[in-house]
């Protein structure tokens, strides 16, 4: 009998998550995984935050806790606290009940639910995304039915922001178009606009009624300060305009596998926010009915206790500081080795990733000869580096740059 699946081809491995698959299959003891953005300690181990363990212990020990379905929009206190975290406790948008917040499956889930909502209810179905951006972004938006256009972002010549190109491309977008903005620590480049540049972007967008859709996956992870890293989002919200925000706790609370995040839709009025929330529920129900309880409960437990919140900010800063120190070590080691080229972008870029500027061939060479695992666009996860592994990476980069075009 002929299989009904005979036309189903084998899909290639996901380009980002596939890096870890390849790394796991490599027997070499010298191998380094600089692929997916998951934090590692100096010992190269995954980290579960101490405050997370404490929150979990509290939850598991609580005899009154049940596993009943949570509402379609998720846990109420988690939603309130998440909105407060990204917008600031004194945000007028919150005080005026203009924010609809829906617990979703981490950043990806928040982006997808937001995009599906926009496809159904917003008059524009084109979204502008930066070039380059996280590999999964175009897929998320395409499957939600939005069409994707790119705006210039990264300038390979300066390894910095192509600000003129960005302004031109957003300036040329049709009125009302959706625009994806990385709130901080742009992935994959690590290149962020300055606050003056953010202000210009905001004015341009508001003048053309472009709808901002923020992807906030690194709040607190970029600079080490939760408030600083929320600055771009807050200035947009402060002007009274509308926007969408996809928030993730994967990195800043180390809750990767728990899939915790939130979609916030900042609206003009409380009435609109309430209607918007009711419609988002209709997107969620046929997708997965309601979100998972565990991760959101951990987040809520931490955010509502001032002691735990404090402890969290300290651990968070610790992670951010280690990454900043890795940047410094890598840069200084490349300088010391005399590797040709200007490597200052390593310390200028911010967040988990560095866009090295290495090309596909050089990356392939580094994987083959030195067992360095990274994405083919030249992105490395600083979180995967340690003082012990920096020398090996430096050797690999040096060899790639001097021996491979």
């Amino acid at each position: 009998m002929d299989s009904v699946f005979s036309k189903v081809d084998r899909a290639p491995e996901d380009p980002i998550l596939g890096v870890t698959v390849a790394y796991n299959n490599d027997p070499s003891p010298a191998k380094i995984n600089l692929g997916v953005g998951a934090y590692r300690t100096e010992e190269g181990k995954p980290l579960v935050l101490d405050v997370v363990r404490r929150a979990e212990q509290q939850l598991v020990n609580d005899p009154s806790r049940v596993k009943e379905y949570i509402p379609i929009v998720g846990l109420a206190d988690f939603n309130k606290l998440s909105a407060k975290l990204i917008l600031g406790g004194d945000s007028p948008a919150i005080q005026e009940s203009r924010v609809a917040t829906i617990q979703c499956l981490s950043g990806t889930g928040s982006l997808r639910v937001g995009a599906e909502f926009l496809k159904k209810h917003y008059h524009q179905s084109v979204i502008y995304i930066p070039k380059p951006t996280w590999g999964n972004h175009p897929k998320v938006f395409n499957l939600a039915g939005l069409s994707v256009e790119y705006y210039r972002y990264y300038d390979p010549a300066t390894r910095g922001l192509d600000f003129q190109g960005l302004l031109e491309d957003l300036g040329g977008a049709p009125s009302g178009a959706i625009v994806l903005l990385h709130a901080c620590a742009h992935n994959p480049t690590g290149v962020d606009p300055t606050s003056e540049q953010w202000e210009q972007i905001r004015q341009l967008m508001r003048s053309k009624s472009l709808l901002p859709f923020f992807d906030s996956a690194y709040q607190g992870f970029a600079s080490g300060s939760l408030d600083t890293d929320a600055h771009s989002v807050r200035t947009f919200v402060a002007d009274g305009g509308e926007c969408l925000i996809a928030q993730s706790y994967a990195k800043n609370m180390g809750l990767y596998g728990e899939r915790v995040g939130a979609l916030s839709i900042v609206c003009k009025s409380a009435d609109v926010a309430s209607k918007v929330e009711s419609q988002v529920k209709l997107v969620v129900r046929p997708m997965y009915s309601s979100p998972p309880i565990h991760g959101a409960s951990i987040v809520a437990t931490i955010l509502k206790s001032s002691e735990m919140y404090n402890d969290w900010t300290i651990e968070l800063k610790g992670m951010a500081d280690r990454i900043i120190s890795m940047r410094k070590q890598l840069f200084e080691a490349l300088q010391a080795k005399g590797t040709p080229g200007d490597w200052s972008h390593i310390i200028k870029q911010i967040g988990m990733f560095t866009f090295t500027g290495l090309n596909k061939e050089q990356v392939a060479f580094m994987t083959k000869e030195f067992h360095i695992y990274m994405t083919s666009d030249g992105r490395i996860s600083m979180a995967g580096l340690s003082s012990k592994t920096v020398p090996h990476l430096v050797d690999a980069i040096h060899a790639a740059v001097t021996r491979v075009g």
């Binding site: 299989s3 699946f5 036309k7 189903v8 081809d9 084998r10 899909a11 996901d14 998550l17 698959v21 997916v36 998951a38 995954p46 579960v48 997370v52 212990q57 598991v60 806790r65 049940v66 596993k67 009943e68 379905y69 509402p71 379609i72 007028p92 499956l105 990806t108 889930g109 997808r112 599906e116 009302g176 004015q203 508001r206 003048s207 009624s209 402060a238 002007d239 009274g240 305009g241 994967a250 596998g257 728990e258 899939r259 609206c267 003009k268 609109v272 209607k275 918007v276 009711s278 419609q279 529920k281 129900r285 046929p286 997708m287 997965y288 009915s289 309601s290 998972p292 309880i293 565990h294």
Partner: protein
């Protein structure tokens, strides 16, 4: 109108210029189109443009989940929630299985990390799940013909399968039972998979319209997907007999249709995990290719953890590998990878012989309580109702739900007069009924049935 205000407010929001304009127009309090907002040292006058979402209407509450919301709002002490299918103890309290608490404590002691799962989910979970469904020794398992990926409970697993159908079987229709779980059509609608209904429930007998079902399946275009409830049909509680399952498999094979099982109650129907998988195993025994969406919400009480799986039984290991890779491609832009917590609980429980045994015992206890409550409800109805109406359908139905045969007006009467919360299709969740409340419920049903049309 506001247009002149719009050009003012939107193009330039630099503090200096805004203050100048604010002076020109007088105080913001008198002009309804301008609002002055102060943020630290910056005062911005913002024209109140209409919302981009102005035209959005308020969506109606979910017909099933909305019932619990309405129940919560009711202050009457006689109220009874027979809406959503979530198991309750005799004291009408939610129930966390002991074996689940054990597993969670173990996980905490071990200090498991929280790294991303692979897109397809936890390997140990996927293995345990396929084995639970088909039996560990089944050829489809041994020959690696099953593509299993962890999904977000039943709903999420159905959605992944629906997306696969839309992509690889363009134009193919899914046939769903009339009636079926309310969310099925929403899932296929959002996945853009066309659907139609096959006859299932016969209101005259409050039983299965078997001939109608077979006729409609036969009539469907060749290669249609047939959505089947593995056991404990939701909302009716009416399952085909083993002989009827054989005939259903025959007609599906005859028409080269593709079966698509929704298994949300394995273990909850009869109390036996193996017995409740009989229909699925019958199809697997025949070497058919088919889909099975599975949920641990009810049988392990893991409702809120959102843990389930989509299983695709293929004719070869190679096909299973390809199908699995494409399911991953669908999951990645939806939520990247699934949540770890519920998957670990299942893997721990199913993977440990002692805990698995404990689970089976708790499973039998839950299913047993429901059977006891069915019997008591039946006995109460028979003793109170003098009309001679045949209430035996209550005993013939199986699983968490009972289709009472009450229509919408009668169901409304149940709620408005008796504070009994149920879905408008006449479905009651026996999982939410206690022995103590059976007589009250019987009174409500008898009243609604006889006195309301």
């Amino acid at each position: 109108m506001a247009s002149s205000m719009l050009s003012l407010g939107s193009t330039s929001l630099l503090p200096r210029e805004v203050n100048k304009d604010k002076l020109k127009l007088g105080t913001s309090g008198s002009n309804p189109f301008l609002k002055a907002k102060s943020f630290s040292r910056v005062t911005m006058t913002v024209a109140v443009k209409p919302s981009r979402f102005e035209g959005i209407t308020m969506a109606p509450p979910d017909p099933i989940l909305g019932v619990s919301e309405a129940f919560k709002a009711d202050t009457n002490e006689l109220k009874l929630n027979l809406g959503v299918g979530a198991y309750r103890t005799e004291e009408l309290q939610p129930y966390v299985l002991n074996v689940v608490k054990k597993a969670e404590n173990l996980m905490l002691e071990r200090g498991d990390n929280k790294e991303y799962l692979p897109i397809e989910g936890l390997a140990a979970f996927n293995k345990a799940t396929a084995e639970l469904l088909f039996g560990a020794g089944h050829p489809v398992i041994k020959e690696q013909k099953v593509a299993t990926i962890q999904g977000l409970s039943g709903t999420g697993s159905l959605r992944l399968a629906a997306a696969l159908i839309e992509r690889y079987f363009p134009g193919a229709k899914v046939l769903i039972s009339a009636p079926t779980w309310g969310n099925h059509k929403n899932i296929f609608n959002d996945a853009k998979v066309p659907w139609s209904e096959y006859r299932y429930y016969d209101p005259k007998t409050i039983g299965l319209d078997f001939e109608g079902m077979i006729a409609d399946i036969k009539e469907a275009p060749e290669g249609s997907f047939i959505l089947l409830h593995g056991c404990a049909h939701n909302p009716t509680g009416i399952d085909p007999t083993p002989e009827q399952w054989v005939k259903i498999a025959d007609v599906i094979q005859e028409k080269n249709h593709i079966p698509f099982f929704d298994v949300a109650y394995q273990g909850f129907a009869s109390g036996s995990l193996d017995e409740d998988a009989a229909s699925v195993r019958l199809f697997a025994d025949r070497g058919m290719e088919f889909f099975v969406a599975q949920s641990y919400s009810k049988n392990l009480g893991l409702y809120a953890e959102r843990i389930g799986a989509i299983n695709v039984v293929c004719s070869s290991a190679d096909a299973a590998t390809r199908v699995k890779s494409q399911l991953k491609r669908i999951a990645r832009p939806m939520y990247s990878n699934p949540p770890v917590h519920g998957a670990r609980i299942v893997a721990n429980v199913v993977g440990d012989a002692a805990m698995f045994g404990e689970w089976k015992a708790e499973m039998e206890m839950m299913a047993g309580r429901i059977k006891t409550v069915r019997q008591k409800l039946y006995d109460s109805l028979v003793s109170k109702d003098k009309s001679g109406k045949d209430w035996s359908f209550i005993l013939k139905q199986i699983g968490m739900f009972s289709f009472t045969g009450l229509n919408k007006a009668q169901s409304d009467n149940m709620t408005n007069k008796w504070h009994v919360y149920m879905t408008k299709d006449g479905r009651i969740s026996l999982a939410g009924l206690s022995l103590a409340k059976c007589e009250y419920l019987a009174d409500a049903i008898i009243d609604s049935y006889h006195n309301v049309s």
